[in-house]
């Protein structure tokens, strides 16, 4: 952690730090387990891991309030865990089992939880951006003060519908936070190779949308920026853009040979900028937790993840009759 200045520590409580540590660690261990199950053939298709980006969702969830909504892409496991969805249900969806969040019918990329206000889980790059603005529209329409976190990648940031959405979101003052998770790559295409305007958050200025870039490997910085964004949206000032600078350690999906970047580049990030190491250091240096206490947490998290994996393996496959259900609603689905 040599690269990080720990001197200018923000005031943050021990409880908060421990919570962020736990939440980020849960995501990392969960994803490692998912990778393992994929290798064993228990998870199929695409599986996009979130390892490296944990501080983004954990920091932003720390700024969210109950009732706020979130929506994201196919790289969604971290978002679900961070917003309080049950690791067992997420893992069981990954294995395509009846007790998964979508009864096994959605898979890694398509999970939802009305209870936790998580609106998916979308496979078409960029498509979730107008959807997120639509969720915000529904809140503004009802006149409440909820906000919607709409996550998308640096690659998605080039899709046309993002800009159509920016225009309307600002025009109608929609309470939506556009979170660009800039992990520097869209599959094998680096940001540098996909645009000559690489400061993605500033593109909002053309539509009158405020925003900022944030260090996404620092959960506290993310939380702070998240709080600014939330305050802006909740007070009726319209959308806000957060470009969170982050990094994914693993390949784009499980089948990515990742030849477009060097091993050293990844290694350097892991060693110098890892978000979980950062918080662990804050905890020990600040005297908030001993090594033993942290080890106990690690163990606890491992147990949760193992339990989720067992649950996901033991849960039965969906009943064949499920093939034909949920195509049409019998009764209009209840609104959130």
């Amino acid at each position: 952690m040599a690269a990080r200045k720990t001197a200018e520590l923000p005031n943050v409580s021990k409880d908060d730090l421990l919570r962020y540590y736990r939440d980020m660690l849960l995501i990392r261990r969960f994803e490692e387990k998912a990778g393992q199950l994929y290798g064993m053939g228990l998870i199929g298709g695409f599986c996009h891991l979130y390892i490296g980006q944990e501080a983004v969702v954990v920091g932003l969830e720390a700024a969210a309030a109950e009732g706020d909504k979130r929506i994201t892409s196919y790289r969604d496991h971290g978002h679900m865990l961070a917003c309080g969805m049950d690791p067992k249900g997420v893992m069981a969806e990954l294995t395509g089992r009846a007790r998964g969040y979508s009864k096994g019918k959605g898979g890694s990329m398509h999970m939802f939880s009305k209870e936790r206000h998580f609106y998916g889980g979308h496979g078409i790059v960029g498509a979730q951006v107008p959807l997120g603005a639509g969720l915000a529209f529904s809140d503004r329409y009802r006149g409440n003060d909820r906000v919607t976190f709409t996550y998308f990648g640096d690659g998605a940031a080039n899709q046309g519908q993002v800009y159509e959405t920016y225009n309307m979101a600002e025009l109608w003052d929609l309470p939506v936070i556009f979170v660009i998770e800039n992990n520097q790559y869209a599959m094998g295409t680096s940001v540098r190779r996909s645009t000559k305007s690489p400061t993605l958050w500033q593109r909002g200025a053309a539509y009158g949308i405020e925003g900022e870039a944030v260090d996404g490997m620092d959960v506290l910085a993310v939380r702070e920026a998240g709080e600014r964004a939330v305050a802006h949206c909740r007070s009726g000032k319209g959308p806000y853009i957060l470009e969170v600078m982050t990094y994914r350690y693993r390949g784009h999906s499980m089948s990515d040979p990742a030849k477009y970047r060097s091993r050293e580049e990844v290694q350097k990030m892991r060693e110098e900028r890892d978000a979980i190491d950062h918080v662990r250091e804050l905890l020990t240096q600040g005297g908030h937790a001993t090594d033993d206490e942290l080890k106990a947490i690690d163990k606890e998290i491992k147990a949760i993840v193992n339990e989720a994996a067992e649950f996901a393996k033991d849960s039965p496959e969906p009943d064949p009759a499920e093939l034909w259900t949920d195509i049409y609603a019998e009764v209009a689905p209840q609104t959130a």
Binding site: G123, P320, L323
Partner: protein
């Protein structure tokens, strides 16, 4: 010179009308704008005005006549001093439109040969969209795809596609490849592997994730005279671009009266891969096959992939080229020939048979062939036809076979409603009804979004068992 006054069309849908009342009589002098008659259309009674000045020589249709066809001469208008007798009898109804195939006056002749639609067209009074053909069907084109004795080599579908692109890029500098991850990444499914090194960044172009944008840029480049190959990482993402494909690429030749079109290829994997869920597992064959102005190929074998892709790149029309991720790695024999192409609109009979015709295309062929093997074991002889292209579609080969076997099962991965099988069933019913000994059965994917769970996905995707069962049903076994 006497002028014929023709029955006017007074509404967009009017084909005939009633000449309710003449407001002039023979010998009257009329001025332009003067009301000549009252005409009842399908919607209302309208007044009909004179365009030219002159003298009414003869009223050819008495008032009160119903069912007067648009463009029928209803009166003769004479110039000053002319008499009705010397003007002669009216000619037969004048055609309302210039003869087909003639450029409209003032229009340049089309640069490309504007072809007629690939789908059978109505002729004369036939109201169906299916062309009348003599019974039996026209003899199908059964010429072999390559000369006998041609040397063959085994090649994967992936390699065949790559070779086709490379050969065409070598041959024509205006051909280029554009899409996501086609260059430095070497292709998301490695189809374009090595092409960047070989042809350089001018001709192998990586795009941002912007399907509608780069599809549109491709169409524009084709308008501008280039021959783009637009790769979609998968056709699921082409839905973002379907407006440019249909509204811009497919229709421009027609809308411009044949002046310009979009000679280009949109290609990429289509259909279900494995366990990739509802948004990544759709077969678009029937969607694109519906669109006049597009050509659609969906090869099964490597030889067809190569020969058809080369034809597609040379074709003066926009071609949708539907590949399949699961087939990419399968090997087939491909002829070793200097320049090998397969024409569009020519089906291939993979296996001759006498009891039933199985028609399929793309990966459906794998199921069809496996089913035919198993059926042979049960003493049922199935003829298996690979359509290879869906637009144009080789109706003659299908009809000829059905007239021989009297039974037909269609096989495709896509959804059942509005499927290629539905279309073929209709054509067979119209043109070979008397030959059928059983209803045609369409084997398709299930009418559900693709589920992720392994067991449900297996149920959703078509399999050879279903084909075998369908054949047994139509053969009453």
């Amino acid at each position: 010179m006497a002028t014929e006054i023709l029955m006017p069309a007074l509404s967009p849908t009017m084909e005939e009308g009633t000449l309710a009342k003449w407001l002039v009589k023979e010998g009257d002098a009329v001025t332009s704008g003067q009301i000549l008659a009252e005409i009842e259309t399908d919607k209302a009674t309208m007044e009909f005005e004179a365009v030219d000045e002159g003298i009414i020589g003869r009223l050819l249709v008495p008032e009160g006549t119903a069912g007067v066809k648009v463009n029928t001469p209803i009166a003769l208008l004479l110039e000053e001093g002319e008499d009705a007798a010397s003007a002669g009898a009216p000619k037969a109804a004048a055609p309302g439109h210039p003869a087909p195939g003639q450029p409209a006056p003032g229009q340049p002749a089309p640069e490309q040969t504007a072809q007629k639609s690939d789908a059978p067209r109505p002729e004369g009074k036939v109201t169906s969209a299916v062309e009348e053909v003599p019974h039996p069907a026209r003899a199908a084109d059964t010429a072999p795809d390559w000369p006998e004795g041609t040397k063959m080599k085994a090649m994967t579908v992936r390699e065949a596609l790559r070779e086709a692109m490379a050969e065409e890029m070598e041959r024509d500098d205006s051909v280029f490849l554009m899409g996501e991850e086609v260059g430095e990444y070497q292709g998301a499914y490695k189809v374009s592997q090595g092409l960047l090194d070989r042809f350089g960044a001018r001709r192998v172009i990586d795009t941002p994730i912007t399907e509608q944008g780069f599809a549109g840029i491709g169409v524009g480049a084709a308008f501008g005279g280039l021959r783009p190959i637009i790769e979609f990482m998968t056709f699921n993402f082409a839905m973002q671009a379907i407006d440019q494909i249909v509204n811009s690429a497919a229709k421009t030749l027609y809308m411009s009266g044949g002046q310009m079109g979009a000679p280009m290829v949109f290609r990429g994997p289509n259909g279900a891969a494995a366990r990739v869920g509802a948004q990544h597992s759709q077969d678009y064959a029937a969607w694109y096959a519906m669109v006049p102005g597009l050509k659609v190929a969906m090869p099964y074998s490597a030889a067809d992939a190569k020969g058809l892709l080369k034809s597609a790149i040379r074709d003066p029309n926009p071609v949708i080229f539907l590949e399949n991720e699961i087939l990419y790695g399968r090997s087939f024999d491909v002829p070793v020939l200097e320049d090998f192409t397969i024409p569009f609109g020519k089906a291939r009979i993979w296996r001759e048979g006498s009891d039933v015709t199985i028609v399929s295309f793309g990966i459906g062929m794998a199921h069809a062939l496996e089913a035919a093997d198993r059926l042979a074991g049960d003493g049922i002889s199935a003829e298996v036809i690979d359509l290879r292209t869906l637009r144009p579609l080789d109706y003659d080969t299908v009809l000829g076979s059905v007239m021989k076997t009297n039974r037909c099962v269609t096989v495709e991965e896509g959804w059942p409603v509005g499927s290629i099988g539905n279309h073929l069933s209709a054509v067979i019913m119209e043109r070979a009804f008397d030959y059928l000994d059983a209803p045609v059965i369409n084997c398709t994917g299930k009418d559900v979004p693709m589920p992720y769970a392994a067991n449900l996905e297996r149920l959703a995707i078509l399999n050879p068992d279903e084909v075998v069962a369908a054949v047994k049903k139509v053969t009453y076994r």
